[in-house]
C-alpha cells in the first residue's frame, strides 16, 4: 500500500543516512560532478513516469506521463554523459597536465 507508510519512512531515513555519510566524504574537488551525478540518479523518477505514460489511465495521465518521461530521460542521458565528461578531465600529474 503506497503512501507515507512506516516501512518506507524507514527506507527513506536509512537511505538519507547512507547518503549523508557517503557524501560528506566527497572532496570539494568533485562537488560539481557530485551535483550532476546526484541529479542524474534522481532522474530515477523516470521509473514512475514510464508507468504513467504506459498504463491505460486515460488521455491526461498519458500526456503528462509522456512529458515526464521526456524530462526525466533528458536528465538520465545528459546527466550521466556530462558527469563522465567532467570526471574524465580530473587527471594526476603523471598522466597528463602541463608537459614539462
Amino acid at each position: 500500500m503506497p503512501g507515507l507508510e512506516l516501512i518506507e519512512i524507514y527506507v527513506f531515513v536509512l537511505a538519507g543516512f547512507v547518503g549523508f555519510f557517503t557524501i560528506t566524504r566527497v572532496p570539494a574537488l568533485l562537488h560539481t560532478p557530485l551535483m550532476s551525478a546526484t541529479n542524474a540518479i534522481s532522474a530515477i523518477s523516470l521509473v514512475g513516469s514510464l508507468v504513467m505514460a504506459g498504463a491505460d489511465r486515460g488521455a491526461l495521465p498519458t500526456v503528462l506521463g509522456f512529458i515526464a518521461v521526456t524530462s526525466a530521460t533528458i536528465n538520465v542521458v545528459g546527466g550521466f554523459i556530462i558527469t563522465d565528461r567532467m570526471l574524465k578531465m580530473f587527471k594526476r600529474a603523471d598522466r597528463g597536465g602541463p608537459r614539462k
Binding site: 503512501g3 518506507e8 568533485l30 540518479i41 530515477i44 503528462l64 542521458v77 545528459g78 602541463p98 614539462k100
Partner: protein, 462 residues
C-alpha cells in the same frame, strides 16, 4: 509475489546498490569515473525492470518520450561547455522536478481527482508537487540569472519576504486541508500554482554570488520531490535515490552557507538576497598600484611559489587555458604553481575545479582553502584572477561588512599580490575590497584572458 514482481524488485534493489556505490566512488577522483558508469548501469537496470511492469500496456508514448528525451539530453551532455556548467545544472534540476510534479498531478487526477486518494498518499503527493513545483520555477529563475537572461543582481520589492512567507503559509495550509480531506481538486491545483509562484519569489531576490547555495538547495529539493514520488507510488528505488540526492544537496548547501558565513536558517528560508547597503565602505583617498604586464611577468618568471586564486571572473573570461600556459612557463623556470580554491568561488560548488581540470591542470595542485591558507606566507606571488569577495580582508576585520566572518583566503600574506581585474567595480556582494589598496598589492587591469596571454608572451620573451 509473482515472478514478475520479484524480478522488478530485484532490479530496483540492484539499481539502489549501484547508485550508492557510484556516489561512494566520488570520494576518490581516480575511481570516480568507473563508479559513475556503474551508477548509469544501475539506471539501465531500473528502467528495464520497470518496463515489464504489468500495468504498462502500451509502449508508443514511452518510446516517444525516451527518444525525444535522448535527443534533447545528448547534446546537453556532450556539447555544453564547462563554463556554462552552473546554468546547465540549474536547468537539469528543473527537468527532474517537472517529471516528479507531473507524475504527482497525473496520479491525483487518475485517482478520481482526489476521491480515491488515501490520507497517507495525499501526504506524499503533497510533498511531491510542492517541492516539485517550487523547484521547477526556482531552477528556471536560477538558470535565467546564470545565463544572464535575468538580472543576476537581487531583484527585490518592498514587503517581498512577507509575500513569500504568506504564499508559503497558504500552500502549507492547503496541504494540511488536503491531508484532512483529499477529495478537493481545487485546493490541490491551487497548491501546485502556489508552489510555482513561490519558487519564483524564492530565487528572484538572490544575487549571483549566492548562487552556489541556491543551486545546492534546489538540488536537494529536486531529490526530495523524487523521494516523495516514491512514497506516492510505493516504489523504494525512488525513495532511496531521492534521499541520496536530497542528502547531497542538503550537505552541499550547508558547506556553501558555512563558507559564506550564513546561518542555516538563513539558507532554509532563502531570505539571503540583499546585502545590507549601509555597510558599504568607501575607498575615498586610497590609491591603487597599477602594474604593467611586463613588470608582472618579471615577478612571476622568477617566483619560486605562485598561488593562483581563481574566481568567477576567470570563468567569465574563459581564461583557464591561459592559466595553464602561464603555470607551465613558471614551472619550466623551476617555480611551483598551486591553486587555492575557495568553496564558494564561482557560481556552483566545485565550479573552479572543473574549469581548471578542463585545462589539464593536475588535480593534486587544486587545494582546498584549509589546506592552502598556511602556504600563502611562503608564496612569492599570489595571483588573483577574477576573485573578489573570497579574498576581501574586510571579512576578518570589518564588523560592519556584510561578509564579516566569512572565511577567506589569506592572499594578503603573500610577498606580492597581483590582482587581475576588469575594472575597479566592487564584487557581487557590492563591497569595496581593501586588499586592492594595500602596499603589496598590484592591480593588473583588463580582461583576464588577454592579460594572461600578455604575461605568457612577456615571459617567453625574457
Amino acid at each position: 509475489m509473482s515472478p514478475r514482481t520479484v524480478f522488478i524488485e530485484a532490479a530496483y534493489l540492484l539499481a539502489s546498490i549501484l547508485f550508492i556505490l557510484g556516489l561512494r566512488s566520488l570520494t576518490l577522483p581516480d575511481r570516480a569515473r568507473r563508479g559513475m558508469q556503474l551508477a548509469a548501469l544501475g539506471m539501465l537496470v531500473a528502467i528495464v525492470g520497470t518496463l515489464v511492469n504489468h500495468e504498462i500496456v502500451r509502449y508508443e508514448w514511452i518510446i516517444a518520450g525516451l527518444v525525444l528525451g535522448s535527443l534533447v539530453g545528448y547534446p546537453l551532455g556532450v556539447y555544453v561547455p564547462m563554463t556554462a556548467m552552473p546554468q546547465r545544472i540549474a536547468i537539469s534540476h528543473m527537468f527532474g522536478a517537472v517529471a516528479a510534479t507531473l507524475v504527482g498531478v497525473a496520479e491525483f487526477w487518475h485517482l478520481g481527482n482526489g476521491a480515491e486518494v488515501s490520507r497517507s498518499v495525499m501526504a506524499a503527493l503533497g510533498f511531491e508537487v510542492l517541492f516539485g513545483a517550487l523547484t521547477i520555477t526556482g531552477s528556471f529563475m536560477a538558470f535565467g540569472k546564470l545565463q544572464e537572461l535575468l538580472p543576476s543582481r537581487p531583484v527585490t520589492f518592498k514587503g517581498q519576504n512577507l509575500v513569500s512567507i504568506g504564499m508559503f503559509a497558504a500552500a502549507a495550509a492547503l496541504f494540511a486541508w488536503l491531508v484532512a480531506d483529499p477529495a478537493n481538486p481545487g485546493a490541490f491545483y491551487a497548491m501546485v500554482v502556489l508552489g510555482l509562484v513561490f519558487g519564483v519569489s524564492l530565487v528572484l531576490p538572490i544575487g549571483g554570488a549566492d548562487m552556489p547555495v541556491v543551486i545546492s538547495l534546489l538540488n536537494s529539493y529536486a531529490g526530495l520531490a523524487s523521494s516523495a514520488t516514491g512514497f506516492a507510488i510505493g516504489n523504494n528505488v525512488l525513495i532511496i535515490a531521492g534521499a541520496l540526492d536530497g542528502a547531497s544537496g542538503f550537505i552541499l548547501s550547508i558547506i556553501m552557507s558555512r563558507a559564506m558565513n550564513r546561518s542555516f536558517a538563513n539558507v532554509l528560508f532563502g531570505a539571503f538576497g540583499a546585502a545590507p547597503e549601509a555597510a558599504q565602505k568607501t575607498a575615498q583617498g586610497l590609491t591603487v598600484h597599477a602594474i604593467t604586464p611586463e613588470d608582472a611577468a618579471i615577478q612571476l618568471a622568477y617566483a619560486r611559489l605562485v598561488i593562483v586564486v581563481p574566481g568567477y571572473g576567470m570563468a567569465v573570461a574563459q581564461a583557464q587555458h591561459q592559466v595553464r600556459e602561464l603555470a607551465a612557463l613558471i614551472e619550466k623556470n623551476g617555480g611551483t604553481v598551486l591553486y587555492a580554491i575557495h568553496p564558494v568561488a564561482g557560481r556552483m560548488p566545485g565550479h573552479m575545479n572543473v574549469l581548471l581540470a578542463e585545462a589539464d591542470i593536475p588535480y593534486e595542485k587544486l587545494k582546498e582553502m584549509d589546506e592552502i591558507n598556511d602556504e600563502f606566507k611562503n608564496a612569492d606571488v599570489a595571483l588573483v584572477i577574477g576573485a573578489n569577495d573570497v579574498v576581501n580582508p574586510a571579512a576578518r576585520t570589518d564588523k560592519a561588512s556584510p561578509i564579516y566572518g566569512m572565511p577567506i583566503l589569506n592572499v594578503d600574506e603573500a610577498k606580492q599580490v597581483i590582482v587581475m581585474k576588469r575594472s575597479m567595480n566592487p564584487g557581487f556582494a557590492g563591497i569595496e575590497n581593501e586588499l586592492f589598496y594595500r602596499e603589496n598589492t598590484a592591480m593588473l587591469f583588463g580582461d583576464a584572458k588577454a592579460s594572461l596571454a600578455k604575461l605568457v608572451h612577456e615571459i617567453k620573451q625574457a
